[in-house]
């Protein structure tokens, strides 16, 4: 109950122009997919050859 009250209260205080800042996803969907495809082609080329060994060999000492 308290959670819903909080949401309502904060939502009403938000200026409306914030909504316009969020890009419309549907229009961008196709372009994004094409870009990701190109990126994945590239990643297939640069990703370390033996993933299992690469991950196993990456060992660090704790720091700080």
């Amino acid at each position: 109950m308290a959670e819903r009250e909080l949401k309502k209260k904060t939502a009403s205080e938000r200026p409306e122009e914030a909504v316009e800042d969020v890009p419309a996803a549907s229009a961008k969907g196709e372009k994004l997919k094409a870009e990701l495809d190109d990126l994945l082609d590239e990643i297939d080329e640069v990703l370390e050859d033996n993933a299992e060994e690469f991950v196993r060999n990456y060992v660090q000492k704790g720091g700080e």
Binding site: R14, E48, Q60, E64
Partner: protein, 497 residues
């Protein structure tokens, strides 16, 4: 009035040796020495005179307190941009100089990355035994070993430390929704036994205490190290160990900017409209990190619940009101403060409505999108080692190998600005005086640290110039003096006259 939020970031980088002796301490030394010898060709050592990492902000340290050891024998240098570059335990570490605002902090954090890249190139030219040194900007090796990215903020000493703890804990736990760098799987804990596919934060699962002095064992959400590197009667330096290393500039900007604002509001008593104390902050750290839906209700101390987004909206609301009523001079630059608020609001709104739209702004979203696309293409399960490899390689700093570098993420600083920040200090803090003295008289500055410089002007004794106020020694304060001084001895005469 809140004091200006001078800030900085210390990053311990992961270092991996391909082919040959894997000793990370030796490798870190080789890496940093290569940079100092081949690139900057100048070296001023760090002065350990004022190091006291064992001092506890709560007063007497607890019975279990293990203050960190100060290592003085490893390579440790001060750069002309006012930064510190050194071997810390088994990692190369870069500490930005003191920055006057969150955007400047992004610039110097990026300069740190650039310095590590140049160090790798210099090391490649000097290491002839077949070893390759590779640097990663991340916080864990995927096997339960974590290394830190620490933020520092100037805080008014008059604020009691228990109030600092109460104010920052809800923020540190919930800011993960935009500061997290993302991680495949889990290393130390599975909440209530559920298998973890992906979590928002690299660091969250390494925190075991709400408050404490340690940084390597039983890590606390709020670190109590009381080492202000400044006049301790007036200032604290809040040492924040709970953050992830970010590659997305917007994530770094928001991490530093929102935290600066929360601290300013604390100093001006402008925070609490609703008590946001968490019932169990350590558990809440995991819960937020593990909750990709961003809808998990966190138990609050007053018996109610709130999601991480609810808490962030509450803090944002208070910050918006604070800025409207009192202005944002405390943020170092009013326009930067406004930009923090604008982006904070935008990111919270987007996280609420369509998190995937933040793939150009937040690391965990960018990484998750990449991994989901890879899973789609190759049909692999979450335990496929290629996903762990992808996660790791996201943070590889080599331009030819970095997966992050292949993403078109939003930039807040230009390549030219980063290049300048590699050698030039920030103009609006004491880092200016430190960096300028190193640039002008590298042979006369024998050692330096955050709050003093030691000069050797050829006659005994060595002379220490204290810099106990991070807000003095700026370009505005000292440029005339520096221009007029014909030598280090002349500078010291003018300073003491």
């Amino acid at each position: 009035m809140a004091i200006p939020k001078v800030c900085g970031i210390e990053t311990e980088y992961g270092i991996h040796v391909v082919g040959g002796d894997p000793n990370p301490i030796a490798a870190s030394s080789v890496l940093i020495n290569a940079y100092l010898q081949e690139v900057v060709r100048q070296r001023t050592g760090w002065d350990f005179e004022d190091e006291s990492p064992g001092n506890d902000a709560r007063g007497a340290p607890g019975p279990d307190a293990l203050p960190p050891q100060v290592e003085t024998h490893l390579v440790n240098a001060v750069l002309t941009n006012g930064a510190r570059y050194y071997v810390d335990h088994a990692h190369p570490e870069f500490s930005t100089p003191e920055c006057a605002d969150a955007l400047e902090c992004v610039r110097y954090d990026r300069a740190g990355e650039e310095i590590l890249v140049r160090s790798m190139e210099a090391a490649a030219a000097t290491v002839t035994d077949g070893r390759t040194l590779v640097v990663y900007k991340n916080n864990s090796d995927g096997k339960g070993n974590s290394y830190g990215t620490h933020e520092n903020y100037l805080v008014d000493r008059s604020v009691p430390f228990d109030r600092v703890v109460a104010a920052v804990t809800p923020h540190f736990v919930t800011r993960q929704i935009f500061t997290g760098s993302g991680k495949v799987g889990a290393e130390t804990a599975t909440l209530d036994g559920h298998a973890v596919e992906f979590q928002l934060s690299q660091r969250a699962e390494f925190f075991e205490e709400p408050v404490g002095l340690e940084t390597t064992l039983k890590r606390p959400i709020v670190n109590t190290r009381d080492e202000p590197h400044a006049d301790s009667r007036r200032y604290r330096r809040l040492h924040v160990i709970v953050g992830d290393a970010n590659l997305c500039e917007v994530a770094t900007f928001l991490k530093v900017g929102t935290t600066s604002l929360v601290l300013a509001m604390l100093e001006d008593d402008a925070l609490a409209r609703r008590p946001l104390g968490l019932a169990d902050p350590v558990r809440a750290m995991y819960e937020v990190s593990l909750d990709r839906s961003l809808g998990h209700p966190l138990a609050l101390a007053d018996g109610t619940t709130a999601t991480a987004l609810d808490v962030q909206w509450e803090l944002f609301g208070a910050a918006r009101k604070y800025a409207d009523e009192r202005g944002l001079a405390c943020m170092g630059d009013e326009a930067v403060g406004e930009e923090v608020l604008r982006r904070w609001e935008h990111v919270l709104h987007a996280l609420e409505t369509e998190p995937a739209s933040l793939a150009r702004q937040l690391d965990w979203v960018a990484k998750l999108q990449l991994i989901e696309a890879y899973r789609d293409r190759h049909g692999c399960g979450w335990d496929d080692p290629r996903l762990a490899a992808l996660d790791l390689q996201y943070h590889d700093l080599r331009p030819a190998r970095s997966l992050f570098a292949r993403l078109d993420t939003e930039r807040l600083v230009t390549a030219d600005e980063v290049a300048r920040a590699v050698t030039e200090p920030p103009r609006r803090t004491r880092a200016w005086f430190r960096g300028q003295c190193l640039q002008r008289w590298p042979d006369a500055v024998v050692t330096a640290n955050w709050d003093s410089l030691v000069f050797d002007v050829g006659t005994d004794p060595l002379r220490r110039v204290p810099m106990m106020d991070p807000l003095r020694g700026t370009a505005e304060h000292v440029d005339e003096l520096l221009q007029a001084s014909t030598s280090p001895a002349d500078l010291l005469d003018r300073l003491s006259s």
